[in-house]
């Protein structure tokens, strides 16, 4: 059997730097069937890193489509008990998780009723996953797997090689020593987080075409970048690539309106020209030239879905931004530019965690991109003074 060295290197990065798999650990791999080549390489890498057991779970969007098309309402959001048990075990055993994304057929669900597509989510399972993220039980990572369908979505033709090159650049696999390159990257974005925390900001303000948005922060909000830590102190990189510094806002204090600056791929559909209006923290109006129903469906998932859970800053040095590409994949696109997410918050980015009032909790977490050269970003300090953070996509605080 001949192995693709590029795939093996990528899997090694995901296992060693991303999830940081420890000897004896249970390793969960979540993949789509189209990701099998990388999932297999991750299994090999994980066992070589000393994994106790590697459990690969394949998902299949075509099976999900069949459910949405033919399933009765009561099973649309049902979580099979065996999958819940699986999820609980992942938490109980502090498993490492490698999740693979990269939709092979991004428009597969686009002809289905948006409301049913939005509802077809395993709610209990998502709640369990959120609990585990909040309690920081797992060292995990998400990486994107190039495939022909994804390439076609991006380039209009299935130029898989071109997509691989772009992904290698974004995740620093083009570096002679990708692990060392990631170490340097961790340090640089970490320093940004430190300088933002030193400013003790009360709010972030976004101003640009179609956008005038103020995102209120918590006193306990802590800026974070690149590297995360489990409750037990194990470091990991949750997203590869990642270019952002992010924090958890006060869910009750978002005001104004925002226009998305990039298309958003969401549960098998593409949302274009999304415009959202907030009142007292809540999304009260959703417009889009395409896919508004999917967003509206998601916002109805639970009572807290319509509040912000994340605000994130990215400048023009982002490798994703530098490609000039829209990946139609949140993992990449959210790292091209500034974004906010409605839905659950990362409690890791809050001093005091989930118990702090204003930290949002929901079964959804959807990032949408709002940054770019035309969008100015300011920090507002508690004394009301305004600090420019981003102008023309350039970071203003120095690196």
């Amino acid at each position: 059997m001949t192995l693709d060295p590029r795939v093996e290197r990528y899997a090694e990065l995901a296992v060693r730097v991303g999830a940081n798999v420890q000897p004896g650990q249970l390793v969960e791999v979540l993949a789509h069937v189209e990701h099998a080549a990388v999932a297999r390489a991750v299994a090999r890498s994980a066992y070589r890193a000393g994994a106790g057991y590697v459990d690969v779970l394949y998902r299949d969007q075509h099976i999900r489509r069949a459910l949405i098309e033919h399933g009765s309402d009561d099973v649309l959001s049902w979580s099979p008990p065996w999958l819940l048990e699986r999820a609980k075990q992942i938490g109980d055993e502090n498993a490492a998780i490698v999740a693979l994304t990269g939709d092979a057929e991004p428009e597969l669900l686009s002809d289905l009723p948006g409301e049913r597509v939005g509802k077809a989510r395993m709610l209990d399972l998502l709640a369990e996953n959120n609990r585990q993220i909040n309690e920081q039980l797992n060292n995990w990572t998400v990486v994107g797997v190039p495939n022909a369908g994804w390439a076609k979505q991006m380039f209009g033709e299935p130029d898989l090689e071109r997509l691989w090159k772009a992904v290698e650049f974004c995740v620093r696999l083009d570096e002679p020593d990708p692990v060392a390159a990631w170490r340097a990257h961790v340090g640089r974005i970490g320093r940004r987080a430190t300088s933002l925390n030193d400013l003790q900001l009360d709010a972030i303000r976004f101003h640009g075409p179609g956008t005038d948005l103020t995102v209120g922060l918590l006193e306990e909000s802590r800026w974070q970048g690149v590297e995360s830590k489990t409750a037990q102190g194990l470091t990991y990189v949750a997203n590869m690539p990642t270019e952002e510094v992010f924090t958890t806002p006060n869910a009750a204090r978002t005001e104004g309106h925002v226009r998305s600056t990039r298309p958003l791929a969401l549960v098998g559909q593409i949302v274009r020209d999304l415009e959202v209006r907030f009142e007292a923290g809540r999304i009260v109006d959703v417009q889009a030239s395409e896919g508004a129903e999917v967003v509206r469906g998601e916002l109805k998932s639970d009572p807290r879905a319509a509040f912000l859970g994340e605000v994130s800053l990215v400048d023009g040095t982002s490798r994703i931004g530098q490609t000039g590409l829209t990946f139609f994949e949140t993992l990449f696109d959210e790292n091209a530019t500034c974004h906010v997410a409605y839905g659950s918050a990362y409690t890791e980015a809050v001093e005091g965690g989930a118990s702090v009032e204003g930290v949002n909790d929901s079964t959804v977490h959807t990032d949408f991109m709002i940054g770019g050269p035309e969008v100015n970003v300011d920090g507002v300090r508690r004394d009301g003074s305004v600090i420019p953070l981003l102008r023309d996509d350039v970071w203003q605080l120095g690196d």
């Binding site: 059997m1 069937v33 099998a36 999932a39 297999r40 299994a43 090999r44 066992y47 070589r48 994994a51 106790g52 057991y53 590697v54 459990d55 690969v56 394949y58 299949d60 075509h62 099976i63 069949a66 459910l67 098309e69 033919h70 399933g71 009765s72 099973v75 049902w78 099979p80 008990p81 065996w82 999958l83 048990e85 699986r86 075990q89």
Partner: protein
């Protein structure tokens, strides 16, 4: 079946899935349908999921296995991983009760594990899951079926070249997908097999006599063992067809009463090799001599592995109307090959043949190997207790009135 367009192929796959759902598992509206296939069989799993929902499944749960992940475990994993069955899978297997299961065979990479340590490959089985499945079989709590999904790797095994379309056409013919209404064709087919089984049960022969080139064998039958077609029923009475294709009617013979010689008529795929020209000599029910043009050692080692292995556990009758037999192919997949022609199995008997508890006449062993003995030159008679002979098969044709 047209051989050209993608549309033809898509339609053929949809019909195949329909067969799995309506005839094979024969799912009941409201059931959860578990689909378990290797990841390379995703197109089949998807078609089955659509067909299952269309037939009223409440929920379709597809679980893909990956032989390459298993290989990674065998090659790089710790010993403790080899037999490990995750708790969630045990829970899932438990949930099969009262529901339907559809699985596939057809290995796209038959030689994938060949460079690994055979002992570790052998150990890498989730035995706890097999135990749960066996309990469902005993309780008859599951309507299930297995079908083969063609792949280039399998086609190479059969034809020596990856002629996928040729394999598909053979599979479609064997499984009656070429009929205008395959589901109706299967209902008719199963009715015919069941009426043959009923006929033999009515006649209640004391023994069968096999006669042909290199063959003169008498095998005793049991009073309490019935002839069956492979149409099973769940405890709640739901009929299903566990193997597609199936062409046989079968019973469990009296393992104490077999005398004579029997020559195999087709190659036998066994333990990764092929046995050709097999000839067995049987005395007092026991196989006492094994000869073959190739691979005799494989059979001898299997028979040596268990004290009860050299006794017969199954007799199956298949005539020349078998579509599998008509292809003239060796599929290297038991699901197909055993349905080509009459076969006999050494090793364990089949408990389903008995209304009540199987008696001492049923063989108990840890192997069950079917070998093919039928063909135009084989004559089979049914013998009464007084020795009177009734012809059952002549020149591959069924002799009893249908």
């Amino acid at each position: 079946m047209g051989s050209g367009t993608d549309l033809d192929r898509d339609e053929r796959l949809e019909r195949y899935a329909e067969l799995a759902v309506r005839v094979g598992a024969n799912i009941e509206p409201g059931q959860t349908v578990f689909v378990q296939m290797i990841v390379e069989h995703a197109p089949f799993a998807r078609a089955v999921a659509r067909a299952a929902y269309a037939a009223g499944a409440r929920y379709v749960d597809v679980w893909y296995r990956d032989q390459h992940v298993r290989k990674a475990m065998i090659e790089h994993g710790p010993d403790s991983a080899l037999e490990h069955a995750p708790e969630w899978l045990k829970t899932k297997y438990g949930a099969f009760a009262g529901n339907a299961l559809i699985a596939s065979t057809g290995d796209p990479e038959p030689d994938l594990m060949s460079d690994l340590d055979g002992e570790r490959v052998g150990r890498a089985q989730m035995k706890e899951l097999s135990t749960i499945i066996q309990a469902h079989m005993v309780a008859r709590s599951l309507n299930w079926t297995g079908l083969a999904y063609p792949s280039e790797g399998w086609a190479t095994k059969v034809f020596g070249e990856p002629d996928l379309e040729r394999l598909w056409e053979a599979v479609a013919f064997c499984t009656r997908l070429d009929e205008p209404d395959p589901v109706a064709a299967w209902q008719e087919h199963m009715t015919r097999l069941e009426s043959r089984a009923a006929q033999l049960n009515e006649l209640s022969f004391d023994a069968l006599h096999y006669r042909g080139p290199g063959t003169d064998l008498t095998v005793g039958l049991l009073d309490d063992a019935r002839w069956l077609a492979a149409a099973f029923h769940t405890a709640s009475g739901r009929p299903y067809v566990p193997n597609i294709p199936t062409e046989e009617i079968f019973t469990t013979p009296d393992c104490r009463r077999a005398e004579g010689t029997i020559a195999s008529s087709r190659p036998l795929a066994l333990l990764g090799d092929v046995v050709d020209g097999l000839k067995l000599t049987v005395k007092d029910g026991r196989i006492v001599d094994v000869q073959a043009d190739h691979g005799a050692e494989l059979v001898r080692s299997q028979l040596a592995g268990d004290e009860r292995a050299p006794y017969f556990g199954e007799l199956a009758l298949v005539d020349g109307s078998s579509r599998v037999g008509q292809t003239g192919l060796t599929f290297f997949d038991t699901l197909f090959d055993e349905n080509a022609t009459c076969h006999i199995a050494y090793g364990f008997g089949i408990a389903e043949s008995f209304e009540g508890e199987p008696g001492e006449g049923m063989n108990v062993a840890n192997v069950h190997t079917d070998f093919m003995v039928g063909g135009p030159e084989l004559e089979i008679d049914g013998l009464d207790a007084d020795g009177h002979a009734t012809p059952i098969l002549r020149n591959d044709e069924w002799q009893l009135p249908e």
